[in-house]
C-alpha cells in the first residue's frame, strides 16, 4: 500500500540567487493514522518544509508524493483534497461568522463559480462538531480567542476531507488548557485514520502524541525515530544548546517528560 505522504531527498532555498539552502536531503514518510512531530530550533525550516508539502512553496529538488502521486503534477484543488494545511494563527480581515470560515474548506471540491451547498455546510458543521466548536458557529471569527481560532482553522482543514493534516505550530500562543484541547483533537483525528504532520516547539507534546519525531537541525532532518529515541539529553543539547533533564513521570506507565534546566547537574527531583 502506498503511504499517504513520502518526502524524498527534498531540498529548499529561497529563489533569490546566493541565498543559503534552508534544508536538503530531507527524507521521511508518513503512514495512515500516524503522527509525525517536527521539532528543532527556530529557523531550521520546519514551517518551510510544511509549506512545501502544502504546495505553498516550491522545493528546489527532491520529490513529495501524496497518495502516491507527485505533488508537482497535481492541481491546487486536487492536492488540497488530500492535504489540509493549518497555518500559524493570524487575524482575519473580515468578521465572517465562524461557520462561513470553516465551510471555505470546501473550496477544493467546488468549481470556481459555485458556492457551498447545504451538503457542504453539513460537512463543515460536522468538522466543527468533531473539534468541539459547534457553539461558535455564528460568532464573528474576529471576536473569538486565539485558541478558538486555531480550532476553527483545524475544522476548516478537516472540511477539506483530507488524508493528511499539516499543522504549523498549532499550540504556540495558547494557554495550557487550549494546548491540551488541540493535542486531544489531533490524537483523536489520528485514530480516525488521518495522517498528521505537525511542527512544534514543545518536546513534551511529542511525548504526549507518541508518534514519530523528526529533529530538524543542521539544514535537514538529522534524526527520525520515536519520541523516546530522539528527545534525549544529548540530542537536545546538540540541537538547542540547552540543558534538559529527561525523566519518567513518577506513577505513570513510562511516560517521559522533558524538563529544561538553567544550569547543568541540577536534578530537580533532589
Amino acid at each position: 500500500m502506498t503511504k499517504p505522504l513520502t518526502v524524498s531527498d527534498l531540498s529548499f532555498r529561497y529563489q533569490a540567487k546566493g541565498e543559503a539552502t534552508i534544508f536538503s536531503g530531507v527524507t521521511f514518510s508518513l503512514g495512515k493514522g500516524e503522527i509525525f512531530c517536527l521539532i528543532g530550533p527556530n529557523g531550521t525550516g520546519k514551517s518551510t518544509l510544511i509549506k512545501c508539502i502544502a504546495g505553498l512553496l516550491k522545493a528546489e529538488s527532491g520529490a513529495i508524493h501524496i497518495d502516491g502521486e507527485d505533488l508537482n503534477t497535481l492541481s491546487p484543488a486536487r492536492s488540497a483534497r488530500i492535504v489540509g494545511y493549518v497555518p500559524q494563527s493570524h487575524t482575519p480581515s473580515f468578521p465572517f461568522p465562524v461557520k462561513d470560515v470553516v465551510v471555505m474548506g470546501r473550496s477544493p471540491h467546488l468549481g470556481m463559480l459555485s458556492s457551498p451547498s447545504d451538503d457542504d455546510m453539513r460537512i463543515a458543521l460536522e468538522a466543527m462538531n468533531s473539534v468541539g466548536i459547534s457553539h461558535l458557529a455564528e460568532r464573528p471569527c474576529t471576536d473569538i480567542s486565539g485558541g478558538e481560532y486555531q480550532l476553527v482553522l483545524i475544522a476548516r482543514a478537516l472540511t477539506q476531507q483530507p488524508r493528511i493534516l499539516l499543522l504549523d505550530e498549532p499550540t504556540s500562543h495558547l494557554d495550557l488548557g487550549n494546548q491540551m484541547k488541540i493535542l486531544r483533537t489531533i490524537k483523536k483525528l489520528s485514530t480516525q485514520g488521518l495522517s498528521i504532520l505537525m511542527a512544534t516547539h514543545f518536546p513534551d507534546h511529542a511525548f504526549l502524541l507518541s508518534g514519530q519525531v523528526g529533529m530538524m537541525m543542521n539544514k535537514g532532518i538529522s534524526r527520525v525515530g520515536s519520541a523516546e529515541e530522539i528527545i534525549s539529553k544529548e540530542i537536545m543539547q546538540e540541537a538547542y544548546d540547552a540543558e534538559v533533564c529527561i525523566m519518567t513521570l513518577p506513577g505513570s506507565s513510562g511516560r517521559k517528560i522533558c524538563v529544561p534546566m538553567l544550569s547543568s547537574g541540577n536534578d530537580p527531583v533532589n
Binding site: 484543488a77 471555505m104 477544493p108 473569538i144
Partner: protein, 347 residues
C-alpha cells in the same frame, strides 16, 4: 465569557430577500423619476409608450417626447445604472481581494490612465469614438504596466502591485497635466477639464452599444466568482492551501474590475468615490460575505448614482459635473462610515 455579543447581527442578512426587494423598488422608482424630470417633464404614461414605441405604434405620442425619452434620457439612465452598479461591484471585489477597506477600483491606476487617454484624444481629435477608445485602452495599459512593474520584483505580493499602481497613477496624472498645459485654453482645455470631472451629459445609444456589454460582462464575472472572493480575502497563502489557483483567480478579478473602470471612464469620465464608499454601505447592511454583498452593492450603487445624476442635471440651469457631487457626498459619508465600528471589518 467575552463581553462581545454572541452574534454580530446584520439586519439585511436576516432579511435578505426583503432588502433586495426594497432596493430593487428603490431603483425602479429612481429610474421612473429620472426619466420624468428634467427641463422637459414627461408624464409616466408617456414614458412607457415612448419606450414601447419601437414595438407598439403610439400615434398620440409627440415625436419630441419620444426622442427625449428614447434618445436622450433612457440611454443616460441605463448608463448611470450600469456604471453605478459596476463600480460598486468592482470596489467590493477589490476591497476583498486586497483585504483593505481603503481600496477603490482605480487603486491600480486605471482611472488615471484612462483619464490621460481621454485627455490625449481630446487634444488631438474631436472624435468621440477615438476619445472613448483611447480612454479604455490607456486604462488597460496602466493596469498592465502596474502589473509588469510589480513582477520586476521577485516577491510579487499584493502590496507590490498596489504600490506599482500608485506609481503608474502618478505617472499618468503628470502626463494628463502635461496635456492640459499644452492644450488650447479656449476650446480644448475646457473640454478636457470637463471630461475629467465626470459627466453623463452626452451619453447616446451608440455609446451604450460598446460600453454596456463591457460593464455588464464585468459585473457578471464578479457576481459569478463572488464566493471565491471570500476565500481569497483570507489571504493568498490560505487560499492556495484551500486549493484555489490564486494567481489565475486574482487575474480574473483584476481584469474584470479594470475593464469595468476603464469602460466607465470611457463613457462618463472620472466618477470617484462610488467604488470606495458603496461597498461599506453594503457591508453595514449584510455583513462581509461577498456572496450577499456583491448583489447588494450593485443595487445600492446603481440607485445612488442615479439619484445623484438626476440631481446633477436638474437642480441648476447648467449641469453640475457628477464627479464633483459624488466626491462632495462621498468624502464625508466615508469619514462617518469609518467612524462606525461595525462596518464589517476587523476593529
Amino acid at each position: 465569557m467575552s463581553k462581545t455579543p454572541l452574534k454580530k447581527e446584520f439586519w439585511g442578512k436576516r432579511n435578505y430577500s426583503l432588502l433586495k426587494t426594497v432596493l430593487s423598488l428603490l431603483l425602479l422608482s429612481a429610474t421612473l423619476i429620472s426619466l420624468m424630470v428634467g427641463r422637459f417633464e414627461v408624464p409616466p404614461f408617456d414614458i412607457i409608450s415612448a419606450i414601447l414605441s419601437g414595438f407598439i405604434p403610439s400615434p398620440d405620442l409627440s415625436p419630441t417626447v419620444r426622442s427625449v425619452i428614447v434618445d436622450v434620457r433612457l440611454p443616460r439612465v441605463i448608463a448611470v445604472i450600469l456604471v453605478g452598479a459596476a463600480l460598486s461591484v468592482a470596489g467590493a471585489a477589490f476591497q476583498g481581494l486586497f483585504r483593505n477597506p481603503l481600496v477603490s477600483p482605480d487603486i491600480l491606476g486605471v482611472s488615471a490612465g484612462a483619464g490621460f487617454g481621454a485627455a490625449l484624444a481630446l487634444l488631438l481629435t474631436e472624435n468621440i469614438f477615438i476619445t472613448q477608445s483611447f480612454a479604455f485602452l490607456f486604462g488597460l495599459i496602466s493596469v498592465g504596466l502596474a502589473y509588469m512593474i510589480s513582477r520586476v520584483y521577485r516577491v510579487s505580493s499584493t502590496l507590490t502591485l498596489v504600490l506599482a499602481g500608485i506609481v503608474v497613477a502618478a505617472l499618468f496624472q503628470a502626463l494628463t497635466s502635461l496635456v492640459k498645459y499644452v492644450a488650447d485654453p479656449l476650446n480644448k482645455l475646457p473640454a478636457i477639464v470637463f471630461w475629467l470631472m465626470g459627466s453623463f451629459n452626452h451619453i447616446s445609444n451608440s455609446d451604450l452599444m460598446v460600453a454596456g456589454p463591457l460593464l455588464v460582462g464585468g459585473i457578471v464575472i464578479l457576481y459569478l466568482v463572488r464566493w471565491r472572493i471570500n476565500v481569497l480575502s483570507m489571504g493568498e497563502e490560505d487560499a492556495r492551501a484551500l486549493g484555489v489557483d490564486v494567481r489565475q483567480q486574482k487575474a480574473i478579478i483584476i481584469m474584470s474590475a479594470t475593464i469595468i473602470s476603464a469602460a466607465a471612464v470611457s463613457i462618463c469620465g472620472i466618477v470617484g468615490w462610488i467604488g470606495l464608499v458603496i461597498p461599506h454601505v453594503g457591508r453595514i447592511l449584510v455583513g462581509p460575505d461577498h456572496k450577499l454583498l456583491i448583489p447588494i452593492a450593485a443595487l445600492v450603487g446603481a440607485s445612488y448614482l442615479l439619484i445623484v445624476d438626476t440631481v446633477a442635471r436638474t437642480v441648476t440651469v447648467t449641469e453640475i459635473p457628477i464627479g464633483i457631487i459624488t466626491a462632495l457626498v462621498g468624502a464625508p459619508v466615508f469619514a462617518y462610515l469609518l467612524r462606525k465600528t461595525q462596518t464589517g471589518w476587523k476593529q
